[in-house]
Subunit: 136 residues, 2 copies
DNA sequence: TGTTACTTTGCAATCATTACAAAGATGAAA
DNA sequence: TTTCATCTTTGTAATGATTGCAAAGTAACA
């Protein structure tokens, strides 16, 4: 994942005006790296920014996705998660504790059968199971 | 994907009472293989079964998932799709026409880095891009 | 200060999904 | 055939996530 020294600058470079709310939301995604939902981002930041609207969280995340600085992670159908790491990597969700872990894999290892002449834009790989800490 | 001659029998074997609605819903998933949403299943069957409730579609699909005869496909965050093919295979969604294609891949090719001592239950791979027919 | 453009907020609307209780169907026992 | 128990479906209301939109707020600048 890329190194970012100044989040305000990073947003500007990506054509996003760095308002207080946007900087805090990106900072949360970037530093925690815990694949949060809208709900958990809002819950976490409401203390620092008591006026923060949930609509703003939605608006901001949508803009970040459009500008390509975060990605959406769909594992469960009832929770959309977000990730400031847009590099190709996989996700493991533990069905016991609910934590979403990152893992690495080599895209070029996967031999795809049946998509000749298809243009591939994004590859998503996720796994469900039991994490090391939840076994016994 | 497995061969099924009699859907009613197949449901019974899997401890599901084969009501008219359940047989029709499974038949739709099994024969069309188009990864439909609840909405499209309901829309398609309402002519044949004019009293069919959307609740019944939800109930039935949830039961099928619990019994393991269908699987959920999460590609977009706003549409849950269902698949009667529960074997390990990948999905390609065309961002132009919206069609979800199946493709094959070999699970054992993927070398995963960072999940030592994790128990893997399910592996999901999906790709987004432009399908052959939409490239002109 | 006044103007403009952009951002955030709050609330209402929409859409997907679930909960629940009433009504309907099935099938075996009497 | 009637009765009874059980399972299934239906309709509606409730919930929860997400979006639309207009009003209020902010920042830069002439
Ligand atoms: Mn990640
Ligand atoms: Mn499939
Ligand atoms: Zn765990
Ligand atoms: Zn297409």
């Amino acid at each position: 994942m890329i190194e970012i020294k100044n989040i305000g600058e990073y947003l500007k470079v990506n054509k996003i005006m760095p308002s207080v709310q946007r900087v805090k939301i990106f900072e949360y995604l970037y530093t925690k790296r815990n694949h949060p939902t809208v709900e958990s981002i809002h819950k976490e930041l409401i203390d620092e920014i008591p006026t923060l609207s949930k609509t703003t969280v939605y608006n901001t995340l949508k803009q970040f996705v459009e500008k390509g600085i975060i990605q959406i992670i769909n594992i469960e159908d009832n929770e959309t998660r977000y990730d400031a790491d847009t590099s190709t990597h996989g996700h493991f969700k533990c069905i016991k504790c609910g934590i979403v872990y990152d893992f690495l894999f080599d895209n070029s290892d996967i031999k795809i059968n049946g998509l000749d002449n298809f243009d591939i834009h994004q590859t998503h790989l996720y796994i469900k199971g039991i994490c090391k800490n939840c076994k016994n």
